[in-house]
Symmetry: D3
Subunit: 167 residues, 6 copies
Amino acid sequence: MKVLVFGADGFEDLELFYPLHRLKEEGIDARVVSVSRGTVEGKHGYHVEADLSFDEVDPDEYDALVISGGKGPEIMRLNEYALDIVKHFMTEEKPVAAICHGPQLLISARVLDGRKATCWPGIRDDLIVAGADYRDNEVVVDDNLVTSRHPGDLFAFGRELLGLIKG
Amino acid sequence: MKVLVFGADGFEDLELFYPLHRLKEEGIDARVVSVSRGTVEGKHGYHVEADLSFDEVDPDEYDALVISGGKGPEIMRLNEYALDIVKHFMTEEKPVAAICHGPQLLISARVLDGRKATCWPGIRDDLIVAGADYRDNEVVVDDNLVTSRHPGDLFAFGRELLGLIKG
Amino acid sequence: MKVLVFGADGFEDLELFYPLHRLKEEGIDARVVSVSRGTVEGKHGYHVEADLSFDEVDPDEYDALVISGGKGPEIMRLNEYALDIVKHFMTEEKPVAAICHGPQLLISARVLDGRKATCWPGIRDDLIVAGADYRDNEVVVDDNLVTSRHPGDLFAFGRELLGLIKG
Amino acid sequence: MKVLVFGADGFEDLELFYPLHRLKEEGIDARVVSVSRGTVEGKHGYHVEADLSFDEVDPDEYDALVISGGKGPEIMRLNEYALDIVKHFMTEEKPVAAICHGPQLLISARVLDGRKATCWPGIRDDLIVAGADYRDNEVVVDDNLVTSRHPGDLFAFGRELLGLIKG
Amino acid sequence: MKVLVFGADGFEDLELFYPLHRLKEEGIDARVVSVSRGTVEGKHGYHVEADLSFDEVDPDEYDALVISGGKGPEIMRLNEYALDIVKHFMTEEKPVAAICHGPQLLISARVLDGRKATCWPGIRDDLIVAGADYRDNEVVVDDNLVTSRHPGDLFAFGRELLGLIKG
Amino acid sequence: MKVLVFGADGFEDLELFYPLHRLKEEGIDARVVSVSRGTVEGKHGYHVEADLSFDEVDPDEYDALVISGGKGPEIMRLNEYALDIVKHFMTEEKPVAAICHGPQLLISARVLDGRKATCWPGIRDDLIVAGADYRDNEVVVDDNLVTSRHPGDLFAFGRELLGLIKG
């Protein structure tokens, strides 16, 4: 089992580290991916090493995708390789979990139309305009897609992400 | 001549103060409006006093609207009174100028469809999905609507805003 | 199943939130306890609400104890109620998990003599002087006692903590 | 029309950017000058690129001078080239505009004796001792010299600066 | 022996605490004085309690005066009571020690004319214009007046201050 | 007379600079020692240059040792050369002064058993467990050993340190 965890500078620290450690806790091979390899800094000052850059990823090798929030998504959604990876997972119906501002990549990849989802309230209208069936719940599961609103939802986000992955 | 300047906590400091002082320089009566009256803090630490809360505004009394960027728009776009003011100015075709993340209110007010506009690159796709004709220019003018990308565009933003207001 | 999570001002943010959400993910009733009720601020700026103060806790009602690290332990170890809770769990051989500077409470409670344990390297010698059998591993399990070194060990800390609790 | 804008590390951000964008808005060629070329950081964290160092400037080529405030003036007033530029503009009676701590350069250049001026209140006595006719107004105009007190005066500072330049 | 130590918000932390502890080390009764009683915050984040406000001080009761630097002097020099205290000590030829920006109060009190003194380089010209005989030394002693340039001079500042006080 | 002053990144700024300047005030040759030569940053943002690294020190050449507190001691106590220097001074009964978290090095060097001492309250129990006769006083002197609790005790710490050194 191999999982990609997306994050870029300004990522919401807990939203990256909770799923990262949660997956490792299960013995799952989780890889941090960013615009380039090397150190990435969260908005609260934590650092993480990106194992891979978006253009190095062969999505066929991975089983699931996690997209952290914060300020990172506004950077990552401008990266064509990142969007191609998102499209791959959505098309292949592999597990995709996005939290807070993470769904901004789902908008850019044009994969939200008709899908039940939630997000940070400040971008709620962007999801609705993009065709999503927005819900204000701690976690929303729509087949392979798991979404949450903010770090306070991580317990539910983790539960549904792991539920999907472990089948 | 009376002009509304929208800003909320986390506003991009230059994007609020440049138009505010620029309008005052012309002798125009510019009023800062926010979620509530009182002190509002910018992301770089500047403070401004909100003269009015959104629900106190009678838009018929005002001639133009400026929407600053930063983190404020994600707060302001959740305020129904703020969106009603935006709709009023767009329907009445009075001058509206939005910069950086400011166009997020235009998305939420559903007034961008078919309009030429620009914004902070990180929300570009949200404008496109909302039907805007996105341009990557320092300033875009479409009839009554002026938009810019970031603080480095303020000189052009101010020029076009003042051009519209002074007719 | 009810679990206590100790934290005080300056707590290491991930070390409190990871176990807190991890326990809630399992449907476990986890309560944050501090010097007093109300908001507690982590060293990276996150906030958490303390549900209880140390003097309000009846340890007989709880099944396990987690002690977060950072700067909080130097405050908590001066609270006699906190130390009495620690002694209760160690005497009753219920699960106790401490990370980073968290073991400072174990020293103050005089419960480390002869126990295998790890901690933040900077307080290693304090554990050794207190009679602990110090190990430099990502996680050390000695019967009911789980200890780790720093936030980078949280995946292993969580695995062993949950292993103990779920039996 | 070419204008010099002085700023050094710790410059008051609005006091540099407002006149810089204001001049550019008019199509005026405004150049940022500092102790050396390259990035200069304001006290609120904004960055600006210095186009020129003081020793590279031929003041005969420029039509006006703006001196921003903050902590920069205590650095710039120790630079002999900067003071020579100030003296040139004052001797030639070309427009000079200084705000907040900016007038510290006017003191060091010994050009304030008998001139009406204002400044940040904390250095008021230094201007008076230097022979200035100090006024506590939002803007003071004395022939070619425009001075203001703080960022809240920028609307008036801009109005008088532009008035002088545009004749 | 009783000594006044002047400081206001933004004081240079070492420049207030070094002389304060140094005087207390000798068993001297040192009192912190500010614009008002209560907590004063240094520019590096230290806090000190002001024992007295300027208007409460009877300078006849005190034997010496220390003026700390940083941003405090620009506030203190606007307080007429503070300047009256300075004038008292200079007229009575009791020991006065000022460091860094501290001499700004000496300028405002008009007591520097003809006196040998030093200060933070950024305000050097203000002292010269005020008639001081400026020297660029770690400490300058002119009868009852001791001045230094910055925190790195505190060892010399303390030596000469104590030398004067202990006679 | 030559004295070593220990400090590492995160040192409590006043606790290093007060004794450093105090010793220099007496004309004593005081050298800052750290893990490596070069700039060391205090927790409040002050910088100091380390004259020597621990492994370069020949303790026979020095007459006394000062250990500053803050976060530095958790780093320094992991350095074997630093601990050897501490042991030398304690064995030779030369003056040793440690403040706040500074006594953590005394624990690691195993030199506190049976000695009267004080420290930052948060590590009080570590000293007691290490065999120290803990006292809650502003300064504790036990033959060659001087200890204090926090920066507010520096006046007493300085008095006793200088008393010992000057014999």
